[in-house]
Symmetry: C2
Subunit: 328 residues, 2 copies
């Protein structure tokens, strides 16, 4: 059993089937990057339709016990997430409304600074802003997991400190292992470890580097070194795998509506388009080799369980809840 | 025990307390008139806060059993409603999302024609439009009650025919008893009766007339004549009472953002502002005289129960549901 802390793109039945064959029991999906409240509701509507159409093989999970329940039926548990906080449109009260609609993971910023804090790509990270602090406490209350994957290191450290609950970096790697703005400092990974947080290690080549993409053992070796930084309770999987992405999707993801220019996100002018997936992870179902890869680099069965799913489940247990928001 | 099919205005603790003293166990409140999706979410956020602040005396009810449960605790059951379908912003998928957020009553149109159908104030009522039919079926599925109080008679008849479930006119009177565009033809009231629908008789002077406002017996006499048209299973209470309304509220309610001119809604140039409440219904708690008024005009105990709450409860039973929309 595996849980993938973040995937994105246009999911379809084939993607759900591939994830099933890969041994993935639960996956956090990306319901939006830049969209405001109305477009985010559109996305939830489309996701509900997609899940209804594939109810024989997938379901939406809003609690760890729903993930387990779906897994026991052999179905993929889809956890609804957003890679930005634009869905809240600056409104603290929208946090509980989107929680009520099943959203469980929200990233404070995507690639740009916003009212909450700073992204990893800004020249200056001024730390968590006033509204960011409010949103984190409201997410704590409403049962949503705070995600800081694209958030700047300083804002991330502030978020860990501000949050009453442990937080996540759902999809990033250690900066000390592969130097990229999108990756996280050892300080961040240690602070996650000290507070019950989790980092999901990515397989996205632009932030993983060619060396760790060559073999599953190399990638699992990267996880072993990440465990040395943050501890075995802190490291999990967050591949950042995308499904059915096309050029307009990359343009939207990177440029949204914020620039008339070109932005490469985690990519570069040298390779602006789709990054080739790791050699060992050409097809989605290839994820099934990860547990054996972890064993090959020396993890025990207990450690393999933590990295593949138990760390995420523990974090979800600590943060997700049905927002039985005392109104009846 | 009474249920009021529609009230509006700015509710506060004093209003909840007054309704308690009036013997009102449940009330459909107006969360919006013209607002789109984002502002409607704002309204839901404010309502949730208001209910949380007054959780000792009120709660949000989304099913008849929750109404009963709150009543048994001596608390007012608030049922969330909108007097317009603008909250959906033309999106069929928003119906189930707002249902999930607890909305249970939505009026197809307010005072103006929209994508769903025609209002009672348009020169020509062309009947239910294509999107109106879709929304009705989606409301049936998602567990929302269709309200046609401000809707034109022809569109209302079409809605009754299109709907798989009985529908409501939550706040209007019989046109044959008081001639006003906002009131409903005998055809509509009979069609409601034949399909299990309900009309909530109003106490709003502009659509009730001075004669029926003089004494509670006169108003209950109007209900007795409405029962002669539609049957005793069809008639209930929908006062249209407003709380803490001020001049800007009337301007918004009538003119919204749709005109630079003046519109009087159900009022008139002769009396553009607040209509004086009925002589017998000066304060909200005066509603408590209604059951005795109904007895005074000859209704049996069983009939009093139907008119004061059982007809609404039967209709809610037939239409409301927790939208356990098969996604997990």
């Amino acid at each position: 059993m595996m849980i993938d802390g973040l995937q994105c793109g246009h999911f379809d039945r084939a993607a759900f089937e591939s994830l099933g064959r890969a041994g993935v029991a639960g996956v956090v999906v990306t319901c939006g990057f830049w969209e405001g409240a109305v477009e985010s509701l559109d996305s939830l509507g489309r996701w509900r339709d997609l899940i209804r159409e594939n109810a024989d093989i997938a379901g939406i999970a809003t609690t760890p016990s729903e993930i387990t329940g779906l897994a026991n039926e052999g179905k993929l548990a889809v956890i609804l997430g957003y890679q930005n906080s634009n869905l809240f449109e600056g409104r603290i009260r929208f946090v509980e409304l989107f929680a009520e609609l099943g959203v469980r993971v929200v990233q404070l910023t995507y690639n740009n600074q916003n009212e909450l804090g700073s992204s990893c790509y800004e020249a200056e990270d001024g730390g968590l802003a006033r509204f960011g602090r409010e949103v984190i406490l409201e997410m704590n209350r409403a049962g949503m997991l705070v995600d800081c994957s694209h958030v700047g290191n300083r804002t991330t450290l502030d978020a860990i400190e501000a949050s009453d609950k442990p937080i996540a970096v759902t999809h990033a790697n250690a900066q000390s292992l592969f130097d990229h703005k999108r990756n996280k400092s050892d300080d961040v990974i240690r602070a996650l470890g000290e507070t019950g947080g989790v980092i999901g290690c990515a397989t996205y080549r632009n932030i993983t580097g060619d060396d760790y993409c060559k073999t599953v053992e190399a990638w699992c070796g990267m996880l072993a070194r990440t465990v040395e930084i943050g501890g075995v309770d802190t490291v999990a999987i967050g591949t950042d795998r995308s499904h059915n992405f096309t050029a307009p999707d990359y343009a939207w993801m990177r440029q949204g509506r914020w620039t008339r220019g070109v932005d490469y996100g985690a990519a570069s002018a040298a390779r602006p388009g789709k990054a080739p997936p790791p050699e060992w992870f050409q097809d989605v179902e290839d994820m099934r080799v990860i547990p054996d890869g972890l064993r090959a680099v020396g993890f025990s069965e207990e450690e393999v369980d933590k990295i593949t799913h138990k760390n995420w489940m523990r974090l979800y247990e600590a943060t997700f809840r049905k927002p039985k928001i005392e109104v009846n």
